[in-house]
């Protein structure tokens, strides 16, 4: 155990900090759930890529810098401290990217990864269906294998940013005789393919952040299959592991929120209850704990260990922490909380309510911990 950064890591932090200071837009960008904001965020992804910061852990050949996970954490810390824009391509960068590294062919990696890192291709995740939410093995969207392609028919829902995105990674049923986990496959599908209809769905904040995707006789070439045919469940579980385990929500995000919350406490010090102050202190502690746990996890991965079902603990911890911090901020803002001018906390509060739902609901995570980490009998 050695809890000091190397001098190279210290230099890297400084380099990132300087670069961000020079490049982060001074005014916040519009929401990436509306067209104008989406385009502005894509532009920002391109700027990031020019600095080679699209995804620092990826090999240079794919637009990365070959950094370690510790350096990625440093990058994230500087990124959130600089209040840099949200990552409109988070599905591509944090979910599909690592999955491609694990399951993609060399040709697929070379084809897709650089365009993710550069922001040229923005990805949506198309897994959920009206009848398959938590119970993802109930997926019914069908992909029939013809000679050299798959033909997709069916419907996906709740797909974030799919209204404006370029591609989706789509979990479909390729073997109709196998009804549950077996018989699924992961396909990479361009959202402008013939036969695709996209219907926006307004999210809690009013923006069309979700999409329903209808597939009507959509043809994609067979080399768009990611991982084994009928082995899509295992591919999806790897993606979900990255999502819950390490990548999707780095600690810096919550440390920054905790810091803002403490600052808000200072601004409202004259009317702050002991309860709220204690809550903010606990939130600060939990954000720190999440940071330490993540450094520990990253270090274990760097030593060659693999993550197991304990990643489910992460997802519960950060999502409930995020909700608590925003609830406290709403309490502090009190009568002003509903106003547009407080929209950073208000929007944050709304989005924090989604945290315990997406990426596998927290109830599902608790089921996983109970049965797979603790070894309790399945119900």
């Amino acid at each position: 155990m050695e809890l000091e950064y190397t001098s190279a890591q210290i230099e890297f932090r400084q380099e990132v900090r300087d670069w961000l200071r020079a490049h982060v837009p001074t005014a916040p960008l519009a929401s990436f759930d509306i067209e104008e904001g989406f385009n502005a965020h894509r532009e920002w992804e391109r700027i990031l890529a020019q600095g080679n910061y699209g995804m620092v852990t990826w090999p240079t050949a794919y637009g990365g810098r070959g950094c370690s996970l510790i350096e990625w954490l440093i990058f994230e810390e500087e990124y959130y401290a600089a209040n840099a824009p949200g990552r409109v391509n988070q599905n591509g960068v944090f979910l599909l990217g690592p999955t491609l590294m694990e399951y993609g062919t060399e040709a697929q990696k070379a084809r897709y990864l650089p365009a993710i890192a550069s922001g040229d291709e923005i990805w949506a995740q198309a897994w959920s269906e009206p009848g398959a939410g938590s119970d993802m093995a109930a997926i019914r969207t069908r992909a029939k294998r013809t000679d050299a392609s798959y033909v997709i028919d069916g419907q996906k829902i709740w797909s974030s940013r799919a209204v404006f995105a370029d591609w989706c990674f789509c979990l479909v049923r390729t073997d109709p005789d196998n009804s549950r986990h077996r018989g699924l496959s992961m396909l990479l599908v361009p959202l402008n393919a013939a036969g695709i209809t996209i219907r926006p769905i307004r999210q809690l904040d009013g923006d069309p952040g979700f999409a329903e995707i209808f597939f009507d006789d959509v043809h994609v070439p067979e080399d768009h299959l990611l991982g084994p045919e009928h082995g899509g469940w295992q591919v999806a579980m790897a993606t979900a592991g990255f999502e819950r385990g390490l990548m999707l929500r780095s600690p810096a995000r919550f440390q920054q929120t905790a810091k803002r919350l403490i600052e808000l406490c200072h601004t409202h010090a004259s009317r702050l209850s002991a309860e709220t102050r204690a809550g903010a202190l606990q939130a600060w502690m939990d954000a720190e704990a999440y940071c330490h746990a993540t450094y520990m996890t990253a270090s274990r991965i760097m030593r060659g260990e693999t993550l197991g079902a304990e990643t489910s603990c992460n997802k519960i911890f950060w999502s409930e922490l995020d909700r608590t911090m925003h609830r406290l901020a709403m309490s502090i803002l009190g009568i002003g909380a509903e106003l547009e001018e407080n929209s950073d906390w208000l929007d944050g509060y709304m989005f924090s309510l989604a945290g315990p739902i997406y990426a596998g609901s927290n109830e599902i995570q608790r089921n996983i911990i109970a049965t797979r980490v603790l070894g309790l009998r399945r119900g």
């Binding site: 440390q255 704990a289 270090s299 911990i369 070894g375 309790l376």
Partner: protein, 350 residues
């Protein structure tokens, strides 16, 4: 930067676990009345565990506070009655720090029964057996005779803790005073908080395990109760808390060697709070899973639960640590936010 336990540390902890699990069974815990709580000391000493942090020149293992924390966690896991954590993590390093190498060596070899007390821990355990008590206050560090400093024994809810309040002003051989005593006392308090926190993590872990085993065997409505989600989620919640307490404890253990004292103390407080809250949640949820059986002496749970209550108050209770953290975070100008958790820091060399 590498925040993982070294292979050697893991092996050491595994060895300690194997030994402690075999020797300190629940059957033994049931024999509190017939035991001094010190029977295992010779074996513990011969394994070298009391001298984890003592330098090799004094016959110690020459390891760090991280290894002490790992061993403390194992001691908690079995609710060990012997004062392993106290001697290995507090007394021996403190005596070494004060330049009393020979005495440290004798204590580490299990030859001298010595207790330790400070304002944050004014009770000596194993009260009837102590030959000496090291009293550490911000003004003075002194080695006192039991007859001069120990009050009549008091009974604790934990049958294994034979406590006596220590008169912190008692006469004794003065080993340090003023600035040196102040520094030693702060150092001791931080160590006490961190290793107690590690023990609490071990206890929480064990309580979750006990409740899991029970839930898999106890049947109601024709199925194991552990198959009910309401039961599963109680234990999952405790496990989540534990998953985020252990890293704080190890972070704090690594910081015990720092010269940035406010940060060392801040981390010690955080560790103690995180572990205390985890143990509380684990015990409350575990007893719920056990039902009425858990509300008895028949179930094993209560030994672990009661130890955790006892440790919750030691080396700074919740209120103490919350107040200290509150002052740091709200008024102390402590650097907070992303990138501040591992600020470059120098190590002290004792």
């Amino acid at each position: 930067m590498d925040f993982s336990l070294a292979e050697d540390t893991k092996r050491l902890a595994e060895g300690a676990r194997a030994f402690l699990t075999q020797e300190n069974t629940v059957a033994r815990l049931r024999q509190a009345e017939q035991s001094s709580g010190l029977e295992l000391m010779p074996q513990i000493a011969s394994l070298g565990l009391l001298g984890i942090e003592a330098p090799e020149t004094l016959g110690g293992l020459g390891l760090t506070a991280v290894e002490s924390a790992a061993i403390a966690e194992e001691a908690g896991h079995v609710a060990l009655p012997e004062p392993l954590t106290e001697i290995a993590g507090l007394l021996v390093p403190m005596l070494v720090h004060l330049g009393r190498g020979e005495l440290a060596q004798s204590v580490a070899q299990g030859h001298s029964a010595m207790g330790i007390a400070s304002p944050l821990c004014p009770f000596a355990g194993h009260a009837r057996r102590q030959a000496q008590v090291l009293i550490v206050t911000p003004r003075r560090v002194a080695l006192a005779e039991p007859k001069d400093c120990l009050n009549p024994p008091r009974s604790s809810i934990d049958p294994w803790r034979q406590l006596a309040r220590v008169d912190l002003e008692a006469v004794g051989e003065v080993l340090a005073s003023d600035e040196a005593a102040h520094e030693a006392c702060q150092w001791l308090n931080a160590r006490g908080a961190v290793f107690t926190a590690a023990e609490l993590c071990g206890l929480a872990h064990r309580m979750i395990e006990l409740a899991t085993d029970y839930a898999n065997t106890r049947e109601q409505f024709g199925v194991p109760i552990g198959s009910f989600q309401a039961v599963q989620h109680l234990l999952a919640d405790a496990r989540v808390r534990l998953e985020f307490a252990r890293p704080v404890v190890y972070r704090a253990a690594a910081a015990l060697a720092q010269i940035d004292l406010p940060r060392r103390d801040l981390l010690a407080s955080h560790a103690k709070l995180a572990a205390t809250d985890t143990a509380n949640l684990a015990s409350e949820n575990a007893i719920q899973v056990f039902g009425a059986f858990g509300y008895t002496f028949e179930a094993d749970l209560h030994y672990f639960m009661k130890r955790s209550w006892a440790l919750a108050g030691l080396w700074g209770d919740r209120e103490f640590h919350l107040q200290r953290l509150d002052a740091h975070v709200f008024d102390g100008g402590a650097a907070i936010g992303p990138g501040t958790s591992y600020r470059q820091e120098e190590k002290r060399h004792d």
